[in-house]
Amino acid sequence: MWAGTCGRGSRCGARAVSDVASRTEAILARKGEIMKRALGMDYSEFERSPIAFDYEGMMAAHGYSLDQITAIQAAAGVGSTPLLELHNLTDLVRSYAGPGMGARLFVKDECANMAGSFKDRRASMSIHAAKAKGYAGVIAATSGNYGAAVSSQAARASLACIICQEAFDSRHVGQPEIIEKSRICEAFGAEVIQMTVGPELFSHMLELLDETGYFAASLYSTYGISGIETLGAEVAHEITALTGAPPTAVVITHAGGGNTTGTARGLRRAGALTTEVVSASVDLSGLHMASDTDFNRKSFTTGHTGFGVPFATWPDRADVPRNAARALRYMDRYLTVTQGEVFYVTEAMAKLEGLERGPSGNTAMAAAISIARDLPRDATVVVQETEYTGAGKHHWAQLNFARENGVEVRLGDPRQSVPGRSIVIPERPEQIRAVEMDLGKLRHSYVRHALAHAGEGYVPSAEDVAFLAADTNSTPEAVEEIVAGLKEG
C-alpha cells in the first residue's frame, strides 16, 4: 500500500530522500508484472523478436467480433451517432475553391455518445473487459475526454474509478479545459487525482494499480482500440448508403494514435479500401510537453503534435507493453493546422451549422476544410468525431486563458503564429491551409527508434523488416534502405 498508510499523501514522510527516489525506480521496474495483472493479459506471447510482434494476433486475443463490440456498445449507450452533411460549410468552401472543386463535407457527431466524445467507444470496451474479468475498479491516467468516458462507463457498470490527471502548473493554475475534465469525472463519481506537470503521472498510476488491484483502463489496450473500429465501420456504411461509394477521405484528429488506428481498421473491415486516411494535429512545435512553464502556454490539451509525432514515431512509449494504437501503420497523410485556424473553424461550425462543439474534432475539421478545397465536388470528406464543449473547454475560455498567460491573440495569416507565443486567427476562410507532414521522415524516425530499442548491434531479420514495413505503411525495400542509412550513420 502506498497511499494513506504511512503519513502524508501517498508517501512516507519519515523516509530518506534516497529511499523515495528508489521507490519510483522500483515501481517502474515492476511495470511489466503490475500491468500484466492489471490488464489480465500476457503480452509476451505475441513477441517474435526484439523488434517484431504479432500485432493482429494481439488485436484478436480478446475474442470479441465487430458485431459483439457493436452490441456491447449499444447496451452502454455508445455508438450509432448521427452522420451530418455540412451543406453551409461545403458551400463556403466552394465559394472560394476553383471551378468544379469543393468536396462534400460530413461530420460524425460523436458528441452524442454518453459522456460527449468518441472516447466512450474506447472506455465502453475497457469497462466491459474489467467487469467480465471480475475487477472491482478501473484506473486511467488521462487529462482528456477519456477520463469522462471511463468515469461514465464505470458508473454504469458499478465499478470504482480513479482518474489521474496532469491538471496544474506549479502555481496551481489549471488549464480551463482540464479543470472541466476534472469536474465531469467527479460528476460521474470518479476519484480524481489532480497533479502538477510531469511524466511521473504514469509511475503514480502504477502505484495505484498495485495498491488497489484495479484494472488498467489504458487508452492503448486492445480493448480500447477495438472499440473505435465501430466508428470507422459506421462511417464507411453510412457514406456508402448515402452516396453509393465509400468516403474519398476521412480526416482524424491525431494524438496518441488510437483514433487513427481504430477508425482506419474499421473502415477496412467495412470494405472502404479506397478511402484516404488523413490524420490531423494542431501544430505545437517548439513547446516542451513536460515543461512547467510551457504547460499553460498551449490552448490545446490533446490532438496536437506534442503527442502526435512522438506516438507516431514510437508507439511503444505507451503504458502497455505493446501499443495497440499504431498510427503510422494506417495514415496516408498527416496534416498540421494552427490553433487559430481551429478556433476560427469552431466559431464557424457553431454559426453556420448549429454545431457548438469542442476543439478536438474541430482540429480535423480545419484540415478537412483545407483538403476539400482541392477535391472535386463529387468527392466526400468526413470528419469522424465531435466532442462536447462547455465552460473551460469553450474556445472563448481558451482564448481568454491564452491572453492571461501572455500569449498574443490577433487577426492575420495563421501561418505567422508561433506556438506558445501567438495565436493568429484567420481573417478569411481562404487562409485555412493545412501543412503536409513528411511521412518519410516519420518512418525514418520510427525505424531508428525500433533499432535503438532492440539493442546495440542487433541485426534485423527478414521478419523484422517485414514487420517494420507493415508498421510504417511502407515496403521492405524502403525499410532496408533506412536501416542501411542508419548503419552508415
Binding site: 498508510t5 501517498s10 508517501r11 502538477t196 511521473e200 478556433f343 465552460a391 474556445h395 472563448w396 491573440v409
Partner: protein, 107 residues
C-alpha cells in the same frame, strides 16, 4: 470564520500533498519542471475537524485514506466561458453574408 476555512468530520474537502520532492523526480525533466515538487490535490470526506492549512486525513471516493494539508472545504468549480474573443465575434455575420452573396450569384 468563513465556512470554506473550517471543516467538520464528514465534510467534502480538498487536501494537497507532495508526491515527490524535486530531488526524487524523474530523470530528464526540463529544468523548470525538475525544480518543482510534484504536487497532488485530492477531494474526499474529512476524517477530523480541521482549519485550512492544517494536516488532515480524508476518505476518498474509492474508500482510500489520504493525508495532506487542508486547502478547501466544499470545493467547487469556477471555470467559465468568459467574454467572447473580439477576433471571433464577426465570424458568423461575415460568413453568413458571404454565403448569401455567393448563393445569389448562382453556382
Amino acid at each position: 470564520m468563513d465556512e470554506t476555512m473550517k471543516c467538520a468530520v464528514g465534510d467534502w474537502v480538498e487536501v494537497r500533498y507532495v508526491l515527490l520532492e524535486p530531488a526524487d523526480r524523474a530523470a530528464n525533466l526540463p529544468a523548470d519542471t525538475a525544480a518543482q515538487p510534484l504536487l497532488v490535490w485530492m477531494k474526499g470526506f474529512a476524517r477530523a475537524e480541521a482549519i485550512v492549512g492544517e494536516d488532515l486525513s480524508i476518505e476518498t471516493t474509492t474508500g482510500r485514506t489520504v493525508t495532506g494539508v487542508l486547502t478547501d472545504v466544499n470545493p467547487g468549480y469556477t471555470h467559465t466561458f468568459g467574454r467572447p474573443a473580439p477576433e471571433l465575434t464577426h465570424v458568423g455575420r461575415d460568413l453568413r453574408a458571404r454565403l448569401a452573396v455567393w448563393r445569389k450569384g448562382g453556382e
